[in-house]
């Protein structure tokens, strides 16, 4: 009697791909099970939201037409006339925000659990690159509907870049494609958003995931020294994968509720000649920087206050990225304390500044 079709299909693939080896790898991969295991899932949630971004983004690009005369109109067409277009756009926007939130949580959890330490420096670096790309996605995508808020927020955002010492103005003009935000800005943001950044993101994400699989899950500090009976693990497959899937379903529900109950508005079409409306501010994930820059005086020792601010943020960001390298130089005992304090201060600072900015 011939084997069932599913077995035959599996055999066909088995003959061509190392399915058994992968299956064996997954079956033997262990995930530590402890109080902080919940933080392992945020990488997966971010990945899930990225997949949603890709799917809804592809659907949107079927109708979206970049251009000063068409951008806003095509988004309105998607929202009003395309069947479930409103839902696709709303999910795309909400999942983008949730993804950035999830990536931030993932980054801080890695930081506080010290998962960036050797040998995972590369995973940390690729992860940070992914966060930067996510924010770049947010910044470039925000302009695409070409509405008033997006237009002026982009103007403000790109103007901040111009305060970077030496290269600021040049960078701003590269970003804008000219001296001001206009048609050139829109088309290059569109190109960045749907082609350049997805390509880079996919490569970096692939590297990030491969590194995780090669290095395995990070084990908490002192885990290896604890007695074997106190060290509990769960198999990566099926246990961890199914739990990941469960969380994805919950996130999907949250996303659906947000998208339907609070659909993202299209707003009013951008008018470059109009005065900027009151209270223009960037998206919430840039607010802590935007708000902090407001506290810098106009001049600091002959230097432009904003330029000093941008420079300080650049240095702070760089120090944050290379934390695995300077952390390794700290005395062993004080490592956790100093890092925790820095992390707590950064986190509180970001939350407070974002809160002030939102209010």
């Amino acid at each position: 009697m011939a084997a069932p079709i599913s077995t035959r299909v599996l055999d066909w693939f088995r003959a061509r791909l190392p399915i058994d080896a992968l299956s064996e790898f997954a079956r033997h991969k262990q995930v530590p099970r402890y109080r902080g295991s919940i933080w392992y899932y945020f990488g997966g949630v971010s990945l899930f939201l990225f997949i949603i971004q890709v799917i809804t983004g592809i659907l949107l690009v079927m109708y979206y037409q970049p251009g000063v005369q068409t951008g806003y109109e095509s988004v309105r067409f998607i929202v009003v006339h395309v069947k479930f277009g409103w839902l696709v756009r709303s999910i795309h926007t909400w999942s983008a925000n949730l993804m950035i939130g999830s990536v931030f949580i993932h980054m801080f959890s890695v930081y506080f659990t010290k998962a960036f330490r050797s040998p995972r420096e590369l995973t940390w670096l690729t992860g940070f690159a992914l966060l930067a790309l996510c924010m770049g996605f947010g910044f470039s995508g925000y302009l695409l509907p070409w509405n008033t808020l997006a237009f002026f927020a982009t103007k403000v955002g790109t103007a901040i870049v111009a305060t970077t010492p030496m290269v600021g103005r040049g960078l701003m003009e590269i970003l804008r494609g000219g001296k001001d935000v206009g048609a050139e800005t829109l088309t290059r943001f569109f190109g960045l958003h749907i082609a350049v950044m997805p390509a880079i993101f996919t490569i970096v994400l692939g590297a990030h995931l491969v590194l995780i699989q090669i290095q395995g899950m990070h084990e908490p500090h002192g885990w290896k020294d604890s007695p074997p009976e106190q060290r509990r693990y769960m198999p990566f497959f099926p246990n961890f994968v199914l739990r990941d899937l469960l969380l994805w379903l919950i996130v999907l529900n949250v996303l659906a509720i947000l998208a339907v109950m609070f659909p993202w508005e299209v707003g009013l079409k951008a008018d470059p000649n109009a005065a900027a409306p009151m209270g223009i501010k960037p998206e919430w994930y840039f607010l802590f920087m935007y708000q902090a820059l407001k506290y810098f005086p106009g001049k600091i020792l002959m230097l432009d206050g904003d330029a000093v601010g941008v420079l300080l943020f650049g240095v702070a960001g760089l120090l944050w990225v290379v934390v695995p390298f300077w952390d390794a130089r700290l005395p062993e005992g004080s490592r956790n304390r100093i890092l925790n304090w820095i992390g707590v201060l950064v986190l509180i600072g970001m939350i407070v500044l974002t809160g002030i900015g939102l209010s």
Binding site: R76, V79, V80, W86, L87, M234, P235, P238, N239, L242, R243, L245, L246, L249, I250, L252, N253, A256, I257, V260, M261, F262, P263, V266
Partner: protein
């Protein structure tokens, strides 16, 4: 010879005569400065017209001598000495210098003198006005003597004065009726004001000897005459009603004419008055828009439609083709005023089209079955209501959909066409023909139907989304619960296997 050319000639003549000195003293009353005024004595005795006239001049009567204006020393019998430059003799006075010479008494200084003779600072007023500006730009421009005369100036309330109420219009017309002269100052300014004035109620009464009706200075002011487009002018668009009301709202002043004095009070509360006075809409009509300005007169029943039709052109044209035109003419009814009123005209509403007692239609039409116009009136009202009430309903539904977070911008935009149709219908009703009104209403009704449909679809879509959310959330939740149970089962099996 016109007043403006008469002056230099008169002054030149006076100067020439003044050269003929040592004339016997005139018969000036004792104590009068002219009693020792050699200028006056010689010119008077010589019988010069200037000196003859000056004997009746208000200035002469109040002790102003020739030398006060012309300079020189009037006490000297030697005319060469008295009329020498060394004695301050200026002879013929330049036209543009006259306001400053008159201004020595009628200007800002010499307070004591002004108090004594009750004079005001009119030379500064003249300089600030359009006449002063004309004089600065052109020596032929008007100055004091252009209106008041030269050596024969009398009080304004003296009927002989060229600026007395009965003569002032003619005096103004000397320049303002002279197209060649006016071309030098403002070629675009009409020169028919005086002719029109003579046809006005004001002008006719003035000509009949009544000094009370308005003359040029009543509205334009006298010394400080401003351009009509200057907001300081009493006849600037937004100030016209108040200027007219100075007389027309004064019951005591208007008592002899037996006409109402509540026009201004009505106008201020009217649609026109609110637009002009409160919203500063200079397109809104003031008194002169309907009554005329220089030729001001009540429009009269026959011309009301033409007057209103100046602005409400389409309404006026439709009315002229309507059955009401002849009917109203037969009854001597004043067209538009019958339904809309005049000074107190309010924003018209569809309620005007009503047979109810007190409504304008009910003034002539009966709702007792005997009047064949009654069904048409009801039908026209129904057509207007279908559009206006339908628009309000669609607006409400669209707002509701919008509050639910639905995008109905396109439908809201379409609703503009309904508003347009409503405006056109409210114009079309002035033909008083059901068919014309129906033609104007129907395009709006069609848009209304599609707007309502869009609104209903948006509301339906909203609830469809909610239902979809509930169902999908339920399915995902059930899947999550089943998954959780499966995980529990797998982990139990694993625990058991390890055990």
């Amino acid at each position: 010879m016109s007043a403006r050319t008469a002056l230099p000639v008169a002054l030149a003549l006076a100067a020439a005569l003044a050269l003929d000195a040592r004339l016997p003293a005139a018969e000036a009353p004792a104590g009068h400065p002219a009693a020792v005024d050699q200028c006056y004595s010689c010119h008077h005795d010589g019988g010069t017209p200037q000196a003859e006239a000056y004997a009746h001049d208000v200035h002469y009567q109040n002790g102003v001598t020739c030398a006060d204006c012309h300079g020189g020393d009037p006490t000297l019998e030697d005319k060469d000495e008295g009329m020498s430059r060394a004695r301050g003799y200026r002879g013929k006075i330049r036209s543009s210098d006259i306001p400053s010479i008159c201004g020595r008494c009628h200007g800002p200084g010499n307070a004591e003198f002004k108090i004594r003779f009750h004079l005001s600072n009119v030379s500064d007023s003249l300089a600030a006005g359009v006449h002063g500006e004309a004089l600065r730009n052109n020596d032929k421009g008007p100055q004091c003597v252009s209106c008041h005369g030269v050596h024969d100036i009398v009080r304004v309330d003296d009927p002989a004065s060229p600026v007395s109420p009965r003569r002032v219009a003619r005096t103004c017309a000397k320049c303002h009726g002279d197209a060649a002269y006016m071309r030098e100052f403002n070629p675009r300014l009409p020169v028919d004001q005086y002719e029109k004035y003579l046809t006005s109620v004001h002008g006719k009464r003035n000509a009949a000897g009544d000094a009370r009706p308005a003359t040029c200075v009543s509205c334009h002011s006298n010394h400080m005459v401003m351009r009509v487009k200057d907001p300081r002018s009493p006849v600037y668009a937004t100030r016209v009603p108040e200027t007219c009301a100075t007389c027309h709202a004064n019951a005591k002043y208007m008592a002899p004419y037996h006409i109402p004095t509540d026009q201004y009070a009505q106008y201020r509360r009217s649609r026109h008055g609110i637009a002009l006075l409160e919203k500063s809409d200079l397109n809104a009509p003031a008194c002169n828009s309907c009554h005329g300005n220089h030729g001001a007169a009540p429009p009269g029943a026959a011309s009301v439609v033409a007057v209103c039709g100046n602005c409400h052109q389409a309404n006026g044209e439709l009315y002229m083709k309507s059955p009401h035109k002849d009917a109203f003419a037969r009854l001597n009814l004043a067209g538009c005023v019958v339904c809309h009123g005049n000074h107190g005209v309010q924003e018209p509403t569809d309620a005007l089209v009503s047979l109810q007692a007190g409504g304008p239609c009910a003034k002539c039409h009966k709702d007792d079955g005997s009047d064949r116009a009654a069904p048409a009136i009801r039908r026209m009202r129904a057509l207007l209501d279908s559009l206006s009430l339908g628009q309000a309903d669609a607006d409400r539904t669209l707002r509701h959909a919008e509050q639910l977070g639905m995008d109905v911008a396109d439908a809201k935009y379409d609703l503009k066409d309904v508003r347009q149709a409503l405006v056109q219908s409210r114009v079309a009703i002035h033909s008083f023909k059901v068919a014309d009104l129906a033609d104007a209403v129907h395009p709006g009704i069609k848009v209304l139907a599609s707007s309502r449909k869009s609104a209903a679809e948006a509301v339906h879509d909203f609830y469809f989304r909610r239902k979809g959310l509930v169902i999908s959330t339920l399915i995902v939740t059930i899947t999550a619960v089943l998954l959780w149970l499966k995980i529990r089962e797998i982990e139990r099996d694993q625990e058991a296997g390890r055990g």
